[in-house]
Symmetry: none
DNA sequence: TGGGGGGTTGAATCCCCCG
DNA sequence: CCGGGGGATTCAACCCCCC
């Protein structure tokens, strides 16, 4: 690895910049390429307000042939810089994902899963002409069929409260305080991804210290999640404004502590809303402290939703039970977080998550 | 349409059999193509050269050529037999859906949605090396970009408790009594789809009496759902055993009653009533005053059904839009008349007129 | 200060008949 | 084939304001 590229954002066209990176030097590529949307005229909501469309120049690649060529170019470079056991993630919608997926296979990548990001709060279809476009698709693929890419199975199972993580992930879109704004108060980037999505991607398929390359860095969500989780990032971005926003963003990120990044080896416990969801969504951060009802015992949160208290580690339920020398414990009511109003049970946050999930 | 093909299962290779069907004769194609190449019969390139028989060739990088060729062949036939406003559904997994989707776009189909069938009870990943493969992907596409395929928006909204149907559908896999068994008690088909899936597909994108072609008929789930819903089917299947099971299955199916097939209708499908009709019938008189919802703006009705508000005159829609400085306006819901009970939208009177037209 | 109501917004291939 | 015009069309989350 070119040491000077680590934890940096490189300015320029992604294909050209990637050519300057050495072979077999990164552990993971995460790519959010232009979707090449082909929108018609203006679109108005039923209340007559206008939808702020993604009409940026960078998304207009041209016809299928142009888009395929562009995809081949960046993907071959991505494959070259990957280590033999490396892997790639690509995200897209029905506009581009079939082309991207097909070229990925043709380029020699080996698809491991396709993952559905199921949006809990998508934009509706205002004209009643189609199904609500409520998801995006990610592809996770190894550099080669024989590669042995990282997969933290136990961590994913722990994050999902003891059952295998499925190929469909329900997560909200990026909005509210997480959504970066420019000086004018408008969104800094039209397609900013939620950190919760990258949290799950990086936690599942990288290890602390790994190098993650994002050739379409934008405002740096991949870098933010990587830095938080103790992974290294290399970003490539050609737009000076996005780059500026991303640099400021990354300067503010505090990495989680070492033990918080250490993930479970053998998980247990079951509940409908996994505690890991709170971590993923940033409601609880890795390294945060949890308190027993009277505040005498404490535990610290790890990135996969397990917690650690002295020698004891495991789920919120397990650790709670051990501390009380009890056969069982409802961690949701036992553990509390400190708020301005004093201690509050984490169950309050579970209720918030429930409200956002439709089952 | 060749009348003898309607509600029949045709035995043979799908490409060859489709060639015997006339152009522009079916309303919908539903295709569940094989994920692996086990072609049985000979496969010929467009120049009539023979393709070497292949068995599952996923192992070889670049071994997708035969699958792509096969996909091109059946898809071009499917497109040919579709009516101009026809549409296609294809279902697949990450093994084949990117290739199928890409070829579908290259063949001139216009993707309308990709739909995720989210399995409520998927098979777990036993080795713990990947995410549980808990979904399959469907693509819904129009024959052409300019086509106007059927979409029963209101019916889908009703099916989903009054909110728009999303692009992710949670349905259980086909099991239990629905799963067809052979004489040996084993499952008759390895990938039988649930009827609930086809129910939603056909209810959303066909009308009663439409003709649905399934070139990979298998044990006939498409035909079963079609017959139940009062749609016609044409099945193509080369395996004599599947064909036998499918025929027995279809013979048992009872179509739903006529009124049960009648689904929630979109207001767009209703007869148009000009505002002038209300004036003609004396329900509104020339000179009457119309009020906006809050009563702040008024307009007066003229004898020809146009209205006038200060300098502005024109249709109820045009004047309403101008007053609100909006790109458009539904005059029927915007304008109100004064009644003893307060303001009432003029849409109430339109409903009265509609009621008198229904005999 | 807490809850309720109104306004805003999000990767969107977003109407269709008739002259 | 194009243009005009009737008239159909939205869900969840987050913000701010106000009582």
């Amino acid at each position: 690895m070119v040491k000077s590229s680590i934890d940096q954002i490189l300015e320029g066209e992604c294909v050209e910049v990637m050519k300057s990176l050495p072979d077999a030097s990164v552990d993971l590529v995460f790519a959010d390429p232009p979707y090449n949307l082909q929108l018609g005229g203006d679109l108005h909501r039923p209340d007559n307000s206008k939808v702020d469309a993604v009409d940026n120049d960078w998304d207009q690649i041209g016809g299928f042939d142009d888009y395929d060529l562009f995809t081949w170019q960046w993907m071959e470079q991505a494959r070259r810089v990957l280590k033999p056991n490396g892997a790639i993630w690509v995200i897209g919608s029905y506009h581009n994902i079939f082309r991207v997926g097909g070229i990925l296979q043709d380029a020699g990548f080996w698809v491991l899963n396709d993952i559905i990001w199921r949006k809990t709060n998508p934009m509706p279809n205002f004209k009643g002409t189609r199904f609500t476009n409520a998801h995006e698709t990610l592809i996770w693929a190894a550099k080669t069929k024989d590669g042995r890419p990282t997969f933290n199975y136990a961590a994913m199972k722990a994050l999902n409260d003891g059952v295998q993580m499925r190929s469909d992930w329900s997560l909200p879109i990026c909005s509210g305080g997480e959504r970066l704004k420019g000086d004018d108060g408008k969104k800094a980037h039209p397609t900013q991804k939620p950190e919760s999505l990258l949290h799950r991607v990086l936690l599942s398929t990288t290890n602390p210290g790994d190098v993650v390359l994002d050739p379409f860095f934008g405002t740096g969500t991949t870098g933010a999640a990587a830095k938080r989780l103790g992974r290294h990032y290399i970003g490539i971005e050609r737009d000076a404004e996005y780059l500026k926003v991303a640099r400021a963003r990354l300067a503010e990120i505090q990495p989680a502590s070492r033990d918080a990044m250490c993930v479970t080896q053998s998980p247990r416990a079951q509940t409908r809303i996994p505690f890991g969801t709170l971590v993923e969504r940033g409601m609880v951060k890795p390294g945060d402290t949890l308190y027993c009802p009277k505040g005498r015992h404490t535990a610290r949160v790890r990135a996969d939703g397990s917690i650690i208290a002295g020698e004891r580690s495991g789920s919120i339920h397990q650790v709670g039970a051990q501390i009380q020398s009890a056969p069982s414990c409802n961690g949701w009511t036992y553990w509390h977080i400190r708020t301005k109003q004093g201690l509050a049970p984490i169950d309050v946050m579970r209720a918030e998550v429930r409200a956002t999930l439709e089952n």
